[in-house]
Assembly symmetry: D2
Homo-oligomer: 371 residues x 4
């Protein structure tokens, strides 16, 4: 591949984020192929044209199938609402394109399985948008764990909280319908699970509890309607490697904006991380002298790769969008056939299998084995 | 009562803490009766004499029964290991003394019940040493919750972590034997439960998981022995008032020294607290303008009673021992027949009932109703 | 102007940063003209070609004059070492190009004056790279100050500290020669001064002290040489508006990576900011009830413009490079003739005048009026 | 000395603080003589009697001279307003009593000199109440500095800020009159100077600026009056050992409650401390591996003496009043003729000499040598 032809479906939050990643990945990393922004698709054709102009794409379509049929497109970024992922991803893979699809794979597990099957048939790269695993902090935490910096890990706590659903005055919307899924479990749990996967491996069994902060909400036209989804999910987990832990998510947590708090306890120390300050993490090691043991707040720096590709000075800080650029470069490596730090459809399916096991555990009020 | 005659059993961590509280309570508060340090008992008679001299007690005994029979003693502080609490507390109550007993009440629930029965028969004050509920921060948080400052509370997370058991090299000791109890559940869970009680009320049902970071430990004489207690306990909880939450404890959490982290989420805001920095707490309220919403870090100050009795200037900080002095003053109020902010034997028994329900839940791998 | 033709001189830290800004500014903001990356110049012609390919520039030159003569170039980014700024900027302006030059303007004040004169003659945009003033936090702090959120400001403290010069083992280099300037005063002081300018206005008088942490350093070939520059500069300042304050900089401050700590005190509150965590700031207001007054930690969010152009969700965080993209958009506004939030050559000259006044104050051990 | 007979003059903030220290010092430390609370003096005789009862003193006087003449009194705590210190301290010393006097020594330097002369003539202990130097954190920081943990110190910044004078609505009071002294310089600067003394040694020269946030204030009876004292003082300092630094104080700093922020920079690391969280400090050392260098937040623990005498568990926290108890034990050591960690009249005079040099420096707008 001498040049990467990119197609982008969707132009919302993640569509723009993908566009920025494709635009800047070669400027940042240098060692990747030139990127050609070929085709942008968006249901609204006028909006498609406008965004194509703004994002620098050559062509715009109101129909995503035109994009997938475009021979100049090598890889397709799928950033549409979740229910469209299966059809688009499968069609793209079947058309011989690499796929970079936002998480989660699909509302239904069967659809996610079909996506994986299509990826396997195609032999193409099929990666998911789990960019939180790409931060220099998380990457370095993995290095530390592998080095045994905190000894043998024995316990893990992960929390993910935001407050976009916290206002009781927010009217009933589609995210309150059971058809949208379980609630916070779908919206959030996959992110902590991607970190668990990146740092440790698979979840073996789960025991989940869910809660609704608000039983009903005002309906636009008048009256109130019962909320069918759960903004809160709290899960006891056992990992395959025997480590126990908890995974707590809440999308009605006033004050939390993008919190993903991780606590990792080992036999020789512990590590703390919070996505709201993802340019730093904290390390406690018993190797330090007793009178000076304490959590070190370590700021991301050029020594924490690939921070150095963005900024040669420590403590200056990457942004959320930069994480997607790192992910983009990993995808390009994967397309080349190199080893890459990505969550692909096979691992993504494991994550979704875990989410469904959590939901079943809640419904049946018992521990459930993920596989 | 013109003067309070105090007897103290035990001279370890908590013994000294009680001694300091009795010594300084009138100097701090002014509005309490004079305190007379009458009698100190400690199994080792030489140590008893030494500590009595240091702490300023008039008499010293190697036999705690002599103290309980001392007519000059009005109230008995019991700070011995947990297994001695029932016998001492019941004897003291039967001798017509008020009792101030360190938590937890007793290793066995039946013994705790017997203690409550004795307290009821005696009509005397029978209070437990749950001093974390006494900090100006926690007291003000309760006021805020009662005022509706964060609306209706809908979710709660509490963690209590220390690292005194975290070193895998620590040899097997009595705390690793099943006879000592469940492990972290006994050592720690009662503290978060005292905060839950103080702030919200009772726990209705629980689903607990426990874990052992280290399967076995070296025995002093050579060889290794399987650890029988659990350093980690993670519990899903439902409160009587319908609020859901989690209660996580870990006594092998490297880096944590005296952490009791509380997160309270409501319909109009949230509150954060951590005992490691108990002279402050954080408040987020949606009443603030959108562009300036954020957690306020509020330092304890004279406006947060009874901080003002210790220091007339804000931000100077109380110490751990000061919390016991506040508890001591509440006990004196209770002895006088006034309303007091204390956890007495009846509420203490509810806390221990909850702990036992947690353990049963873990053993039976199912949700258990506390009552 | 239908399309912006960009020339970039220099491909180091700031060269890449400008390239990323030009590459992504239209994708982020939408409302700016298309950007054409026309010409890249770099002393080493091979490196110029390589970077032009990586950054996506059409042409590469080993001679910056070729770039300036390129008729397709409308605006020139100058990111070379400071001593080259005057010649390049003046030539670019005289060739009718807009100029975006990294700070500081020039080592000598006379050269900086010549740059301003050239800018005035040309009528072109002549902006400096003071991107720290562009963060949503700093922009919102300015809004709050203008609204009177903390009343009348009466005191200001600014610190800027890094540790890139802190290792005593680092051999003597050009930054230790007097020819390079004063030291930290040139490297750092201009940044805090840009914030002072953005938030308050000009500095009226200064009293500066400087210090050398290490009197001499090893010379590569052997022996040691006396250090001629000052890593530390501490200055008492009075602003034109009567506000007093301090401005402290240190480039040998172990542990500090990109700290620019600002404390602003007013009659009704105070504001804190630290560039190491520039996605947040702290606000204390006396309008809050006495029992709940405390610093609010406010995370950057879409309500703090133009954060929303990068990310529609709060608390996700911009990166250092994003600040340059915001600056780039301001520059484009300025080129269009619109009002822009920029430090142009006239204000830049005031900043450098202040730096020189600081140095004179130190040399003469007395208060010096800036003008 | 078999028992220490204590006299206390004054029953305000510091009077109570001394009473608590005397009351608990033997309970906490064990290794000190029994303390007998002999005599309390307070201008208002009724209040004297009430406080004597509350604090547990045997006698009460409305006349402090009666206390000084009391043969049962061995040591006199002086906690009255500053202007009374000289007369009381000199009388007590001349009566052969040890003296423990709150800082500062006296409003006038001549009076402070007379106090030192009296102390020298008497041969008695004459200590000042500089309790901030007693915290386990500060004591351990001194140990680290002595060990060379951060190499050779080269720069120092100290800030002390509170907001008790920050409200512009506060009416004119005696602290706004020139007769009360310079303002923040007297109220605050002595505290940071005590830390400088404890950690490093003497100040050699100073360059100070002062400011008034509010030019005038309302007078109780109507009208406004010009404020004569300075709430803000910012000083450039050089220490005897060649270290440079800054010492900034502000008693009108909204949001600051008891801040004493210390930054110490050395050739191998740095140390941070803030009195508002005095149970912790931060250490950065270059001995840590580059990828894990960061500030360690170290919680006070039993390994940081004498924390262990108060609490045997780490991270539980001492309070402000506990610092006075530590100081009290140091005083007792001094009385016994042992080495003690105290600021006595000779060192206290050096501190006040420095304050007066600061004031002169401001008035004369020039650097002033302290001696």
């Amino acid at each position: 591949m001498q040049m990467i032809g990119v197609g982008l479906i969707g132009t919302g939050f993640m569509g723009k984020c993908h566009a920025l990643a494709w635009t800047s990945v070669r400027t940042v990393f240098g060692d990747v192929e030139p990127v050609r922004l070929v085709h942008l698709a968006e249901a609204n054709p006028d909006l498609a044209r406008q965004r194509a102009s703004e994002f620098g794409f050559e062509k715009a379509s109101g129909d995503w199938r035109a994009l997938i049929e475009d021979p100049a497109v090598d890889v397709v970024s799928i950033t549409t609402p979740n229910q469209f992922h299966p059809e688009m991803a499968i069609a793209a893979l079947e058309a011989g394109k690499h796929v970079w699809c936002e998480k989660p794979m699909a509302p239904s597990f069967a659809d996610a399985e079909a996506m994986l099957a299509a990826a396997r048939r195609s032999g193409k790269a099929a990666a998911l948008g789990y960019n939180y695993i790409q931060s220099p902090s998380i990457r370095h935490i993995r290095t530390l764990l592998n080095e045994g910096a905190i000894g043998t890990v024995n316990h893990l706590r992960v929390e993910m909280d935001e407050d976009f659903m916290a206002a009781p005055e927010t009217p009933f919307n589609w995210k309150h319908e059971a058809a949208s899924g379980y609630g916070a479990l779908d919206d959030f749990a996959v992110h902590p699970l991607s970190l668990v996967k990146a740092l440790f491996g698979h979840v073996a069994s789960v025991m989940c509890d869910m809660a609704k902060p608000y039983a009903d909400r005002a309906v636009a036209g008048g009256g109130r309607r019962a909320v069918e989804t759960y903004d809160i999910a709290s899960t006891l987990v056992h990992l395959d490697n025997g480590v126990s832990g908890t995974l707590l998510v809440n999308r009605s947590a006033w004050g939390r904006k993008g919190r993903i708090a991780v606590q990792i306890f080992g036999s020789k120390g512990s590590i703390l991380f919070d996505q709201e300050r993802f340019n730093e993490f904290q390390l406690y090691v018993t190797a330090d002298r007793a009178t000076e043991q304490g959590y070190r707040t370590i700021l991301a720096a050029p020594v924490h790769k690939p921070y150095d590709r963005f900024i040669p000075a420590p403590g200056h800080g990457l942004g959320f969008n930069d994480l997607k650029t790192i992910e983009c470069r990993e995808l390009i490596r994967r397309i080349r056939g190199e080893e890459a730090n990505l969550i692909e459809f096979d691992e993504g399916l494991e994550i979704e299998r875990t989410v469904h096991a959590m939901a079943r555990s809640f419904e049946e009020r018992r521990w459930v084995d993920v596989r």
